[in-house]
């Protein structure tokens, strides 16, 4: 019964969005977009809640619940199980699409015709994904035989952060669908100007903030849950989320220029198309199972081809309209080489170069597999070595850009505004290099530039107006740039100073890494809610006193049968100490790996700073408009 209602509701959404999207090609029949959007939104919302309800009740009449849940699972993971699989997460994806359309429908934009076209195109996207859901991935399929117990959710996924990770990531991915709809609506109604950019600005930022947080959360999860000690593996699935982020970052910087200077119209449109295309490509990579990844998602070739066809349709429509309208969009203003516009545009190109490098590295193995029948993978060094020079240029432009005036500026002015902070950073890094440990030239370059970026951005954020109060609209930009500088700084510092050591240890052994001495205290069997565990206890010693206690675990889950290593991490202000172990079969010792990871907390902090920066840019803008 519940599944029946769910299917009817999804069909209602399918029809409503089809009717809405007809406004793209016909002007005769006027459609109350607000009403229809509300219908789609509420029908998808209710069917999503019904799905969650099935999971909470462990209703094993439904395939999706059988394959992804278990009656003994804690409640929170039963709920999260609803979107911890392909079908449910696709329903969530559509829910977010309709939320964006719904919220946009009730925004205060006065230009009715524009609004109509934006919502029509957004509805077309909703229609496409709903079709996808109904015909290849219906979440409300009944089981053919009676089942009394479910197979359970992969224990690696039974984690609080991972429960909220997909919804956040999807708001980011899907947010860019509305950006594309803005581009289409703007082109059809000839409204790609500074006012259009001002309307788009908060939406582009919302998507960017959530995508930033989503990537950060995923990385944080991989760090403590997978137990490999790293936080970024240049894995296809990670790259899939990084690519739309890079395009989206370039995009909203362009939206800024368009809003202020009314130039770069066609470029901004192109970036809007590009960004959502990469959201779709990312989805394709993750769900088609076409690439070898460390995190596999349930995969099915039919799903992959549907997404590719959908992407092709979106691209044909977008570029069709662009070919007609694009050349007419641009205003005649010319760019001066030394100006804020130019430095932002330069950074745009650098971001897209990074995107290209990542794209190539992600898809190259696919190409060789298809055309040369050779199975290969691309090592992380490809990314590191290729992105290094681009990152250096990016940092330089980020340092000088915000200190350059719009329109036209003098090089001497720019140098004057940053030279002291640059020399200060250089001195700090050099002092550090001499006093602690010798650094290589590339490390010194990266560390100095990122530290300069942090200092310069802080200084820009603290700039005051005539009343001696901080200029709030500039605060967001500064925070986000401090975040990025800190990100590069901590990534490089972590890469340079991280240590790891592997021990084969028996109880009462003493383990030594750098200046840290550990004592292996005990091993015991413990029992959790739905797993059995072997827990070891290690003390971090200072002479004879115990400073900290680490308790890494090995968990044995029975539904589905899986063994996982739980890390034990203690965060100090500057350094994480990270202990993970496992027990080889038939052995009388445990394998312990201890990582000393400096600056790792600052990586998470910098992601949060970027997100807060984006948020404060939205908040203080709204005040300005009123």
């Amino acid at each position: 019964m519940i599944g029946y209602i769910g299917n009817i509701l999804i069909t209602i959404c399918l029809l409503a969005s089809l009717i809405q999207s007809s406004r793209l090609i016909q002007d005769r029949l006027v459609i109350d977009q607000k009403l229809f959007t509300s219908i789609s939104f509420f029908s998808i919302l209710i069917s999503f809640l019904l799905l969650v309800y099935l999971f909470i009740n462990s209703n094993f009449n439904y395939e999706i619940v059988v394959s992804n849940s278990h009656s003994e699972k804690p409640l929170i993971y039963k709920i999260a199980g609803a979107w911890g699989n392909h079908e449910g997460s696709l329903l969530l994806w559509i829910l977010v699409l309709t939320i964006f359309n719904f919220t946009f429908g009730f925004s205060k934009i006065k230009f009715v015709n524009f609004k109509d076209k934006v919502m029509a195109f957004q509805s077309l996207i909703i229609f496409g994904f709903t079709l996808f859901l109904l015909f290849t991935s219906n979440p409300f399929l009944k089981t053919e035989i009676t089942v009394s117990e479910g197979l359970g959710l992969n224990p690696v996924l039974q984690d609080l952060l991972l429960a909220i990770h997909p919804p956040i990531l999807y708001v980011g991915y899907v947010g860019y669908s509305l950006v594309l709809s803005f581009a289409i609506g703007g082109m059809i109604t000839n409204k790609v100007d500074n006012e259009w950019a001002a309307w788009l600005h908060p939406w582009a930022l919302v998507a960017w903030i959530f995508l930033t947080l989503g990537i950060g959360l995923g990385s944080f999860w991989a760090y403590y849950e997978l137990g490999w000690g790293g936080y970024w593996f240049w894995d296809p699935v990670e790259n899939a989320s990084l690519m739309p982020w890079l395009a989206g970052t370039a995009l909203f910087h362009c939206v800024l220029i368009l809003e202020k200077k009314n130039i770069l119209q066609s470029w901004t449109i192109l970036l809007s198309i590009l960004t959502f295309s990469f959201s779709l490509i990312g989805t394709f990579l993750v769900r088609s199972g076409i690439l070898n990844s460390v995190h596999t998602f349930a995969s099915d070739p039919a799903r992959g081809s549907f997404i590719l066809i959908f992407l092709a349709i979106i691209l044909v429509i977008s570029f069709g309209i662009y070919a007609q309208k694009g050349p007419l969009l641009d205003s005649k203003d010319e760019l001066k080489l030394v100006s804020k516009e130019s430095s932002i545009l330069g950074n745009n190109w650098l971001l897209l170069s990074i995107l290209f490098v990542v794209f190539l590295g992600t898809l190259y193995p696919l190409g060789t597999d298809l055309f040369l029948q050779k199975s290969i993978s691309v090592g992380p060094n490809y990314y590191i070595l290729t992105l290094l020079p681009i990152t250096i240029l990016l940092l330089i432009l980020m340092i000088i850009g915000p200190n350059t005036k719009w329109k036209n500026d003098k090089v001497s002015n720019i140098i004057f505004s940053i030279n002291k902070l640059f020399i200060l950073s250089l001195a700090i890094i050099f002092g550090f290099s001499i006093y602690f440990s010798e650094l290589e030239l590339t490390q010194i370059t990266l560390l100095t530039l990122s530290l300069t970026l942090v200092f310069v951005s802080i200084k820009n954020g603290l700039r005051v107006n005539n009343n001696y109060s901080i200029i709030k609209p500039a605060l967001g930009k500064s925070l986000a740039h401090v975040g990025f500088g800190l990100l590069i700084l901590s990534v490089v510092a972590n890469g340079t100073f991280a240590r790891e050591k592997i021990f084969q240890a028996k109880v009462n052994d003493t383990l030594q890494i750098d200046n840290y001495t550990f004592k292996f205290d005990s091993v015991e069997q413990t029992k959790g809610v739905n797993f059995n565990a072997i827990t070891a206890t290690f003390h971090l010693m200072n002479d004879q006193t115990v400073m900290d206690t680490f308790t890494p675990e090995i968990r044995v889950y029975s539904n589905p049968p899986t063994v996982t290593s739980e890390t034990s991490i203690i965060r100090k202000l500057l350094t994480d100490i990270y202990v993970v172990m496992n027990v080889p079969e038939n052995s009388n010792f445990v394998n312990v790996r201890i990582h000393v990871k400096p600056m790792i907390s600052f990586i998470w902090l910098s992601v949060i700073l970027m997100a807060i920066g984006g948020l404060s840019a939205i908040i203080f803008r709204f005040k300005k408009i009123r």
């Binding site: 490999w228 691309v378 290729t386 589905p560 496992n582």
Partner: protein, 146 residues
Amino acid sequence: MSKKVKKRLITVLLSFLILIIATLLITMNLRDNIIYFYSPSDLKDAEIDRQNIIRVGGLVKESSYNYDEKSKIYNFVITDNMNEISVTYVGIMPNLFAENKGVVVEGLATSKSSVTALEVLAKHDENYMPPEVIEALKKDGKWQEE
């Protein structure tokens, strides 16, 4: 030449230069960092460069796995039921490593049938089979659909 044309020319030349440098950088780094995957049968027929890191994969052969406590060296044999590769490894064995299960090993080939592992990759749930291993087994006709 007018000022405007000159400016355009410089822009075009500069973009070309950047494009060339970028292409060189990307292709060189890509070439140096590609890791090839071999099944035991592939490795037997392949030209082996002892300097390059490779990946090999297949099933862990039954009762081939042992550990020497003194030298701290793990030994096991990867098989595709036609050919075999013997692997030596110093480090942490992943939890999911087991005989008769799929495994992928990253390391250096010391001969056409032996590899010194730098990393053993077996990072998934019990049913997980690395895609390369499935592919390798299929090619040799040893793969059974469930």
